[in-house]
């Protein structure tokens, strides 16, 4: 599992109330709690952040 640092973009709240986050070109829409959790983890390696973001995105389906 890679631990290379990749910049995560925390793009804030959208008009629909969701929070937009971008990582490696992929966009993720999160709720407030998930956004807060990702914000806390934003210094994690991209490989971990990707797993978290995908997991949160799955929860929101």
């Amino acid at each position: 599992m890679s631990t290379n640092k990749t910049e995560i973009e925390m793009l804030g709240q959208q008009s629909d109330g969701k929070y937009l986050v971008k990582l490696d070109g992929a966009s993720y829409l999160l709720d407030a709690a998930q956004y807060k959790a990702i914000n806390r983890k934003k210094e994690m390696p991209a490989s971990r952040l990707e797993i978290w973001l995908k997991s949160y995105a799955d929860e929101n389906i």
């Binding site: 640092k5 983890k41 994690m44």
Partner: protein
């Protein structure tokens, strides 16, 4: 004429003086006697006075002695009272001391227990199940579900006996069939029948003649005895037959009435008896049928419950083997937090199906939540309650949070066999040095692998020791002060951390 005798004057004078002398002597003697007697009286009076004085003195002495005795007794009683008071105070003090000691011991025991609870969380990390164990349980599941008589089943509800069904059916039957009333009515009819007796004696000629004789004696009177006797005899003879038939007819009428009544009571009793027997038969039939119905329903319910249990167990076991990501996330969310632990914590999980890696974000309790007191032993060997030092608190906190990570990991490993390793990032809320606002600070990272984790004996070592068996990263001083870790380098440090030989921990 003779010579007149001349009186002897001298003699007379002498005699006079002698008499005077005697009188004087007598007077002197009398005076002496008087004086003697007077002196005697005076002495007696003096003696009496002395005696009186002596008695007064004796009384006074006795009084003084009595006063002294009384005072002595009072002092003794006072001393006794003071001693009793001291004794009571001593007992009270002893009791209070004992009570305080008991309270102290209870408090110490509570403190010890609380500290133990917080610092040995890792010992609650359960056994990690393996595929072989799951397969064995699945086989057992199939066997037990197919064999209703199997012993020591995992489904613990026993095969329902028909006892409960019988009781329920009996209860229903009791309310449906009023046997008591029927029995009471039968008893009443039986008593009526048994108590109905015919006591009238059948009239005889002799009985009739006796009656007529008494009537004749009352009604027929004559001055002439032989005439009276004759008239009375004629009366008896004349009415005997007529009266006999009258009386006999009356008796037969009564007897007939009695027999009719007896027959009626007997018929009534038989009818009541038949009613009782019918109710008994109906009730017995109902009981048999209803018991069977209830038992079948209970058995059906039990079988359904049993099937549900085994089906759910099988499904859970299957999920443990092959459950997907959604199952894992849902299962973990349903486990945490629970009431097993005394501290507040929160578990967030993400799972990567490709690698079998679970990422756990663990919100730890704060150091302020750690019990503040500990039990120390004084140089004299006495246990005492002490405030923990900062080092104590930090040490307990470190053991607590490492243990919590192990407890959480053990539960997550048992959710699915697919989870091969669990990487825990643990954070807590801390206030900055110049800030009143608490922020989340990550304090350790650890990567628990299933293979190694399932070998560890969690009862044998402290959580801080066990951490050394896994790849981990934290920044902890010798005094257990856990600094915030820097994610930019933490993962690299964790990857390069060389764990201790796991053989030391199994």
């Amino acid at each position: 004429m003779g010579r007149r005798k001349t009186p002897n004057i001298g003699k007379a004078i002498n005699g006079f003086f002698s008499t005077v002398n005697k009188m004087a002597k007598a007077a002197a003697r009398a005076e002496k006697q008087r004086i003697r007697e007077q002196n005697q009286r005076i002495r007696q009076a003096e003696r009496a006075e002395r005696e009186s004085m002596r008695r007064i003195e004796q009384l006074a002495m006795a009084q003084r002695r009595a006063d002294r005795e009384y005072e002595k007794e009072m002092r003794r009683q006072e001393r006794e009272q003071q001693r009793a008071e001291r004794e009571r105070e001593k007992v009270e003090k002893l009791y209070a001391k004992q009570l305080a000691q008991e309270q102290l011991e209870a408090e110490m025991s509570e403190i010890e227990s609380e500290n133990e609870e917080w610092t040995t969380v890792h010992t609650l990390a359960g056994h990690i199940v393996s595929l072989d164990e799951i397969n064995a349980t699945l086989s057992r599941c199939d066997y037990e579900q197919q064999n209703i008589d199997a012993a020591n089943c995992m489904f613990e509800n026993p095969y329902p006996s028909d006892h409960t069904a019988k009781i329920r059916a009996m209860s229903e039957a009791d309310s449906m069939f009023d046997m008591n009333t029927a029995l009471a009515e039968l008893q009443k009819a039986r008593e009526l029948y048994n108590n109905l007796n015919f006591t009238e004696k059948e009239p005889t000629l002799m009985m009739v003649r006796d009656i007529l004789t008494k009537e004749a004696e009352n009604q027929i009177h004559s001055f002439l005895p032989w005439k009276q006797s004759r008239l009375r005899k004629e009366y008896v003879d004349l009415y005997t037959d007529v009266r006999y038939y009258e009386m006999h007819d009356e008796w037969e009428k009564l007897k007939k009435e009695y027999e009719d009544m007896k027959a009626k009571f007997l018929a009534d009793m038989e009818s009541k008896k038949s009613a009782v027997e019918k109710i008994r038969d109906d009730k017995a039939n109902f009981l048999t049928k209803r018991t069977q119905e209830i038992q079948e329903a209970v058995l059906k319910e039990w079988k359904e419950e049993r099937d549900t249990y085994y089906n759910n167990l099988r499904a859970n076991l299957q999920d443990m083997i092959s459950g997907d990501k959604n199952y894992i996330i849902t299962a973990v969310d349903s486990i945490f937090p629970n009431d097993d632990l005394p501290m507040e914590y929160f578990v967030d999980i993400a799972y990567d199906e490709k690698t079998g890696k679970a990422l756990v974000d663990l919100d730890l309790p704060e150091i302020e939540d750690i019990p503040q007191q500990k039990i120390a032993v004084t140089p004299s060997g006495k246990k005492t309650i002490r405030q923990k030092t900062q080092t104590d608190l930090r040490s307990d906190y470190a053991h607590c949070i490492f243990g919590l990570a192990m407890y959480v990991a053990s539960n997550i490993f048992n959710v699915s066999l697919k989870i091969q390793d669990i990487e825990i990032s643990a954070y807590t809320q801390r206030k900055g040095e110049n800030s009143a606002v608490a922020t989340d600070q990550y304090v350790f990272l650890v990567d628990f692998t299933r293979e190694l984790f399932s070998l560890i004996d969690f009862q044998k070592h402290s959580s801080a020791e066990i951490m050394e068996a896994f790849k981990r990263h934290y920044n902890m001083t010798k005094t257990y002060d856990m600094k915030e870790i820097d994610f930019s380098s933490a993962y690299g440090k964790m990857e390069t951390f060389v764990p201790a030989d796991y053989n030391d921990f199994i």
